[in-house]
């Protein structure tokens, strides 16, 4: 019979990396709650990804193709020659540790292999073995190791625990972008058919139907129709957006999460109410019906393929420029990659607001502007009638989405808008916002349910800052401009800071927006009584 242990003995946990033994000697143990289910073969086959078959991460046999090691090393050689940044990032890290304690997964979870430096080392060690003289001859002494199944499993486990948020890169004195290292590792795993169901499903859907959820045109229109009904109930105004309309001035593209998932739908209602009030000549597309790009979490080529539909649709419809909705990684793609992949476009014009005349030179090449840039400009030029007191029951703070903040520097516009449509706004502490913002914990396709523990760990640093402003200022609303944030921060708040409402910025705008001919509003967009209405004072 086993002896009863003392608490101290019980707590002797058997993962004890760097100091006790070399991290390389510790084979990965896939712990439930930390990873997502494996990709389905049919979804991989849809986009012609290699080694399409059903597989499970918990099974010993990952059904890898023959000579998979050769495939990976060949791809690594190819990417090293193609991307100078990858080569530099492999070589120049001096392991100073500046990044080590900046990752939300390390901070919240405590697994040392989630220190960005060590996570990158998982890949670097293999690079050294096969691509550097020191690694070839000195092996482990030079921090090199062979690529084998155990290493591959470790890659898969940890590179699908990185949200590519790039917080660590802000602190790196060399500017190493660890997100790009994760991207490379994900490229390699995709060559072997190793991705997650949560990513590969949306990729296949997007490729076949135009959006991650696989919504067909009638479903998109039905969903928007439902929102129009709700808007009419709340404001008395019936709006009539158009779909796939040739000759419209503007194409509007937003993440499909806004079409089908609360609280994103309220943000979507917000866009439509604003555009209606302005009389904007815009159209939805049921083909370019996804701003997000889960292909970005698989490979560069796949991301490019999925992105191409936006310009293709803009060309087909003959629009002058594109406005994009509130989304995170969508904007990293649009701002940093789209122009190189599928542009520059010669069939559109530099975006110019038809209301204010402002020319958005910052989008002179991409021809696509963020909806908060558009709206902030309207407010700056006094083009909107606003009643911020309608949001007076909301004490708001703002979460900078990683990709819009660090990926495109969109820091002031959302704050400017919020401060004009709400009377009560409080910032979270400086080291948790703007360029140093903490990730929601569930980006890059980690927003599945089966990995809830890792999501909560990753979400803790952000939630901790929200809790602080809640205690200090009574904050009850967390605004953001990202569809994944809207979905996943709701779960994170539910666990860490219950009672916190998660909202898109344009939901707040539409609450405050005084529309021409509207009836006296009794409720906000969620159907809840406005301050002073319904006895909720």
């Amino acid at each position: 019979m086993a002896k009863l242990s003392t608490p101290a003995e019980l707590l002797k946990i058997d993962y004890n990396p760097p100091q006790s033994e070399n991290w390389m000697d510790q084979p990965v143990e896939l712990k439930p709650g930390n990873f997502c289910w494996g990709a389905k073969g049919k979804n991989l086959a849809t986009v012609e990804f290699p080694n399409a078959r059903d597989w499970s991460p918990v099974e010993e046999n990952w059904k890898l193709p023959k000579d998979w090691e050769g495939t990976v090393l060949e791809a690594m050689a190819d990417r090293l020659s193609k991307y100078r940044s990858f080569k530099v990032f492999m070589d120049i890290c001096v392991r100073c540790g500046a990044c080590a304690d900046k990752c939300h997964f390390f901070i919240g979870g405590g697994d040392p292999k989630n220190m960005p430096v060590l996570r990158a080392e998982l890949l670097r060690s293999v690079y050294r073995k096969y691509f550097t003289s020191s690694g070839k001859y000195l092996g482990k002494l030079a921090g090199a190791r062979e690529l084998n199944l155990s290493v591959l499993k470790e890659w898969w486990y940890y590179f699908y625990q990185c949200t590519e948020c790039r917080r660590c890169s802000v602190f790196c004195p060399y500017g190493i972008d660890t997100a790009e290292i994760t991207m490379m590792a994900r490229e390699f795993t995709n060559l072997l058919g190793l991705n997650t169901d949560w990513i590969s499903g949306p990729v296949a859907n997007c490729y076949m139907k135009g959006n991650h959820l696989g919504l067909e045109p009638h479903a998109i229109m039905n969903s928007i129709e439902g929102m129009i009904d709700d808007i009419e109930t709340i404001t008395g105004i019936r709006i009539n957006p158009s779909f796939n309309r040739k000759g419209a001035e503007i194409l509007f593209v937003t993440p499909s999460g806004d079409l089908f998932a609360d609280p994103g739908t309220f943000t979507c209602m917000g866009y439509m109410m604003l555009f209606h009030e302005l009389g904007l000549d815009y159209t939805w597309s049921t083909y370019a019906s996804e701003g997000g790009n889960f292909g970005f979490f698989t490979s560069n080529e796949m991301a490019k393929r999925l992105n191409s539909k936006i310009y293709a649709e803009a060309k087909r419809l003959g629009v002058k420029y594109i406005i994009g909705g509130e989304c995170g990684h969508m904007w990293r793609v649009l701002n940093q990659y789209m122009d190189t992949w599928n542009g520059p476009t010669d069939f559109m014009e530099v975006p110019k607001s038809p209301i204010t005349g402002t020319v958005f030179d910052n989008a002179a090449s991409t021809k696509m502007i963020h909806v908060t840039e558009f709206t902030a400009d309207l407010i700056k030029n006094n083009k909107l009638k606003l009643d911020p007191s309608r949001n007076d029951d909301l004490v708001v703070t703002y979460h900078d989405s990683c990709n819009t903040a660090r990926g495109m520097g969109l820091l002031e516009e959302p704050r400017y808008i919020i401060n004009n449509v709400c009377n009560k706004f409080h910032e979270m502490p400086d080291n948790t916002i703007r360029e140093r913002t903490f990730c929601c914990g569930s980006g890059t396709g980690l927003n599945a349910s089966e990995n809830m523990e890792i999501r909560m760990r990753g979400g803790y640093p952000r939630a901790n800052a929200v809790k602080h402003v809640k205690e200090q200022h009574g904050v009850n609303t967390l605004a953001n401009i990202c569809a994944i944030d809207r979905a996943t921060l709701s779960a994170s708040m539910d666990y860490w800071v219950p009672g916190t409402r998660v909202t898109g910025v344009h939901e707040l705008v539409a609450n405050a927006l005084i529309m021409t001919g509207e009836k006296e509003r009794e409720t906000d967009l969620r159907g809840e009584p406005l301050p002073g209405k319904g006895g909720n004072e």
């Binding site: 979870g109 697994d111 089908f260 080291n431 901790n464 800052a465 539910d494």
Partner: protein, 187 residues
């Protein structure tokens, strides 16, 4: 001198020892970070534990109001409930306090009165462990509730997409209810 007075005088040392013991449950590199980074936003886990045990210790010596002490325990256990600990590992840090206290007063002669007080205090610490287990369970249940809600929402949306669920309204638009329509599943 009562035990509480003795413990209050030794508070800093006892808390430091308790903190170190808890940090030992993390990998060495992590423990170093949790201990040394004092900014509570850069190191929420370390600081939640640090502040939490101080609050618990203070409340324990001041009579131990369950509501207050539960809140303090929650701040620590909510974190450990989603880290890579088993249930016993997540809450066992409470018991450390017993040995930390015994070690801390080992040079103090244990009079019958002190001994009695110590037994009473240790019994209170045992009660804390029971409360801690309740909190741990609440956290885990919350986690599964969140998972279940996400699945429920997703399933409902999928049914909507497949046109298998529609929101039906009566002619007066007075009531809303969900009706599962008898449509063949298109496989």
């Amino acid at each position: 001198m009562s035990l509480k007075v003795i413990l209050s005088a030794k508070k800093d040392g006892l808390l430091a020892a308790w903190f170190d013991r808890i940090l030992d449950t993390y990998p060495a590199e992590t423990a170093k970070f949790l201990k040394n980074q004092k900014d509570k936003f850069a190191n929420p886990v370390g600081q939640a534990i640090h502040a939490g045990i101080e609050d618990i210790f203070r409340e324990l010596l001041n009579g131990g109001e369950i509501e207050k002490i539960s809140g303090f325990l929650d701040n620590i256990i909510r974190v450990r409930a989603i880290q890579e600990f088993s249930a016993s590992q997540a809450v066992a840090f409470i018991f450390f306090l017993k040995s930390v206290i015994r070690d801390g007063i080992k040079d103090t002669p244990l009079t019958p009165e002190l001994s009695e007080e110590l037994v009473a205090l240790e019994s209170q610490i045992d009660s804390l462990a029971l409360i801690a287990f309740d909190i741990f369970m609440q956290c885990r249940e919350k986690l599964y509730e969140i998972k279940a809600n996400e699945m429920k929402n997703m399933t409902y949306r999928l049914l909507q997409k497949a046109n298998m669920v529609t929101e039906t309204e009566d002619p007066e638009k007075q009531t809303n209810f969900i009706a599962i329509q008898k449509k063949e599943v298109n496989t």
